[in-house]
C-alpha cells in the first residue's frame, strides 16, 4: 500500500437501486469519517420492510477499508465510459480519500458479461469487484443470520 493512501480523510458511500413496481427499492451503505457505518436496505417485495442500521466502527476497521479501496485503485478510474444509469437501475459510488473525491454513477451490472461488453471493461471491473467487497463486508454485519 502506497504511503499516500494512508493519509487524509476517508468517506465511502454506495447506493444501488431502482424505482419500479415495488416502489423505490435500494441498498445503501456509507462509511463515515467518524467511524459510523450506516446501512439501509429497502425491499418492498413481499412486504419486506426497510432495514436501517448503524454501528460505529473502530479506526482499525476504517483503516482496513481504506486499504482495500486504495488497493483497488478505483480512484484512478473514471465513469465517463460506463453505462449511464437507466430505468433498470442506478448505482452510485462516492469516495473521499485524501484530497480526491469521486462520485461515479452507472447502471446496474447484472454479471461480468455486462462488464465485458461495456466500453470500459477494465474500469468497470474494478468497480464491480470493489462494490462486491463492500457489500460483503457490510452484509456480514447487518444481514447475517441471527443478527436480525
Amino acid at each position: 500500500m502506497a504511503e499516500g493512501d494512508e493519509s487524509g480523510e476517508f468517506y465511502l458511500r454506495y447506493y444501488v437501486g431502482h424505482k419500479g413496481k415495488f416502489g423505490h427499492e435500494f441498498l445503501e451503505f456509507e462509511f463515515r469519517p467518524d467511524g459510523k457505518l450506516r446501512y439501509a436496505n429497502n425491499s418492498n417485495y413481499k412486504n419486506d420492510t426497510m432495514i436501517r442500521k448503524e454501528v460505529f466502527l473502530t479506526p482499525a476497521v476504517l483503516k482496513e477499508c481504506r486499504r482495500i479501496v486504495a488497493y483497488s485503485e478505483i480512484m484512478k478510474e473514471d465513469d465517463n465510459n460506463w453505462p449511464e444509469p437507466d430505468r433498470v437501475g442506478r448505482q452510485e459510488l462516492e469516495i473521499v480519500m485524501g484530497n480526491e473525491h469521486i462520485s461515479f454513477t452507472t447502471s446496474k451490472i447484472g454479471s461480468l458479461m455486462d462488464v465485458q461488453t461495456s466500453k470500459d471493461p477494465e474500469g468497470l471491473r474494478i468497480f464491480y469487484y470493489l462494490v462486491q467487497s463492500g457489500v460483503l463486508f457490510t452484509e456480514d454485519y447487518f444481514t447475517a443470520p441471527g443478527k436480525i
Binding site: A40, N42, K53, V55, V61, E64, S103, S133, F137
Partner: protein, 205 residues
C-alpha cells in the same frame, strides 16, 4: 504519519476544540475540509481543494435531496448514542484481524484464535477477483474477556509468516480525536490498532 491518521478521523469539532491547534499541524486538508457534510455533498467551498471526478457531481442538488430523503429516517442502533434504541441484543464481541495471509484458511484462524474461547462466528472473505483471502477476518467471541485476550495476545504477532494486527471491530461511539491522538503520541506503527474500546454488534432490528 501520526498527524495524517488523526486527520482521517478529524471531522467532529464539538467538544474537541482544545486539541484543534495541535491537530492542525501537518494536516493540510483540514482547514479546507473539516466537516463530513461538505465532503459528502462535494458541494460548497470544500470540494474546491479536492480533485473531483465522476458523473455524480453533475446533478448534485437532486442527488443530495434524494439521498437525504433516503437516509433521513431513523437508523436502528445500539444505545451507543444514548437514545432509546430498539430492542437490544448483544450477540457477541467481534474482533478484526488484518494482515491475514492470502492463502489462509478458516481452520488456521479457528485453530489459533480458538485458544481464547469458543468462536461463535468467523468471516474470512475472499477477493472475488483473485480467489484469495481479502486480507482481513472478523471473529466473534461470546465473552468480552475472550476477545480482549485474543487482541492483547495476538496483536502484532506473526500468523502464517505474516504480521497481523488484531483489534476491536466495533466501537460504542464515534471516533474521537482526543483518543486517537493520545494513542498515536506514543504508539504509532503502520498498522497498530488505535483504540481498545468495548464493542458491540447490532442486535435486533
Amino acid at each position: 504519519m501520526a498527524n495524517v491518521e488523526a486527520e482521517a478521523v478529524d471531522f467532529e469539532p464539538e467538544e474537541d476544540d482544545l486539541m484543534d491547534e495541535d491537530i492542525g499541524d501537518g494536516s493540510p486538508n483540514r482547514a479546507a475540509v473539516p466537516r463530513l457534510k461538505s465532503a459528502i455533498t462535494g458541494g460548497g467551498s470544500s470540494s474546491a481543494s479536492k480533485k473531483t471526478k465522476g458523473r455524480g457531481f453533475r446533478d448534485e442538488a437532486t442527488a443530495e435531496a434524494d439521498r437525504n430523503a433516503r437516509m433521513s429516517a431513523r437508523f436502528d442502533s445500539l444505545d451507543s448514542e444514548g437514545g432509546p434504541g430498539p430492542e437490544r441484543s448483544i450477540e457477541g464481541w467481534i474482533i478484526l484481524v488484518t494482515g491475514v495471509h492470502e492463502e489462509a484458511q478458516e481452520d488456521d484462524l479457528q485453530n489459533t484464535f480458538g485458544d481464547f474461547g469458543e468462536i461463535k462466528n468467523l468471516r474470512l472473505n475472499l477477493d472475488r477477483r483473485t480467489g484469495y483471502v481479502k486480507g482481513y477476518a472478523l471473529i466473534e467471541f461470546e465473552k468480552f474477556e475472550e476477545a480482549q485476550r485474543a487482541i492483547s495476545e495476538m496483536d502484532g504477532t506473526e500468523f502464517l509468516t505474516q504480521g497481523i494486527n488484531v483489534d476491536w471491530a466495533f466501537s460504542k461511539g464515534p471516533i474521537r480525536r482526543r483518543n486517537v491522538r493520545r494513542r498515536y503520541a506514543f504508539s504509532y506503527s503502520i498498522d497498530s490498532p488505535l483504540r481498545k474500546c468495548q464493542t458491540q454488534i447490532l442486535g435486533s432490528y
